[in-house]
Point group: C2
Chain length 189, copies 2
DNA sequence: CTTAAAAATTAAGATAGTTTAAGACCACCT
DNA sequence: AGGTGGTCTTAAACTATCTTAATTTTTAAG
């Protein structure tokens, strides 16, 4: 029951008593989603942040011309949401779909605010979580502007080997911001 | 004395007593830097996070071939550092230089950890700060992979008009990840 | 097992972006 | 006041990436 992955994840940065865990369990919603099922759809308001117990999700945007851009993948032990939507109540730019049958845990925005009040150490936990997320995105921004696609592809494969194996090449292309045709040509030269 | 911009910045998200401010003042280091002066140099260890009281800074990387990439600009009321270096003690990928004579405030990593202990509401402040930084970078990542350079240029000008006026076109080009020649051609068509 | 749909590959012609080089302009130094 | 160096512009030749479209391969559903 309380050997959820999410507790291990939280305890990487703060410690939890059995009481904390019990309290949390009343606030979290565990959900099974099927492959191709949508957890969030572009345009909606996103009231929840998601944690992947097992399986994998993908967050992506589709623009007016139908072009798909993958913003991030989330595998086991990762958090994911459309942050601007979650925090600032903007319509979601992102859709989030399951890449395989997955077990996820939802945490509602208002319940999270409650958690911050009742268990202030969660401010610390999410401070560290967002700090790390910021570091990753800062690095990604630097790589995006300073390296060429070919280098970025190999860096991605090296950095996220499990993801590279799990997702299609088309999805990796849309994460890199190039066409699948171009990525295919890159690889096979 | 205590009408520093940094206090206004902090009070956007948490409230500060006079005592808090006094305590903080003992930990912060106010510094004047001259135009072109370096606040941080690539390769060093970066032990501090910086806040801009007035003036402007630029964080950039120079790769092996000498190509310069601007990761971010910081104007009045902004925080800036090489986060991966600051948090994880990695050698700085970034240099940070003053674009004009500026007044900045330094906060040392270890003192910040102390602040978290003594004034836990600062966990909240930095949680919100990093949360917002993450949102910005997430958006930037999406724009980088989904829009073309021309659109990104005009979005940048629209989103950061003060910065666009203050910095050179060459620096904007290096923020967008294109050559100054190409940006010049884009604008004048 | 079969078949339809999606993914991956290949290739040709178009567009986006780089490189190099030269000249104009402007700020700054002494 | 003149010289120096950085920025901006323009252009030509080159490389990276896109678009389209046809072909093959893989995947998933009945």
């Amino acid at each position: 029951m309380s050997d959820y992955q999410i507790f291990k994840n939280i305890q990487k940065h703060i410690s939890l008593t059995e009481l904390d865990k019990e309290h949390l369990l009343t606030l979290l919603k565990v959900k099974n989603v099927l492959k191709k099922e949508f957890v969030l759809k572009q345009g909606q308001t996103c009231k929840k942040i998601y944690f992947v117990e097992y399986g994998s999700l993908r967050a992506f945007n589709i623009d007016d011309e139908g072009k798909e851009s993958t913003l991030m993948f989330a595998v086991k032990d990762w958090w994911i949401t459309d942050m601007n939507c979650f925090v600032n109540k903007k319509p979601a730019l992102l859709s989030i779909e399951a890449l395989e049958n997955s077990k996820i845990i939802e945490l509602d925005f208002h319940l999270l605010e409650e958690v911050y009040q009742k268990l202030p150490k969660f401010e610390r936990f999410f401070r560290i979580l967002f700090q790390n997320a910021y570091i990753r995105e800062q690095q990604r921004a630097l790589y995006n502007i300073s390296y060429k696609t070919e280098e970025r592809y190999w860096q991605f494969v090296e950095k996220y080997p499990e993801i590279s194996e799990k997702v299609t090449q088309k999805q990796i292309a849309s994460y890199l911001g190039v066409t699948p045709e171009f990525l295919s040509a890159l690889k096979n030269k």
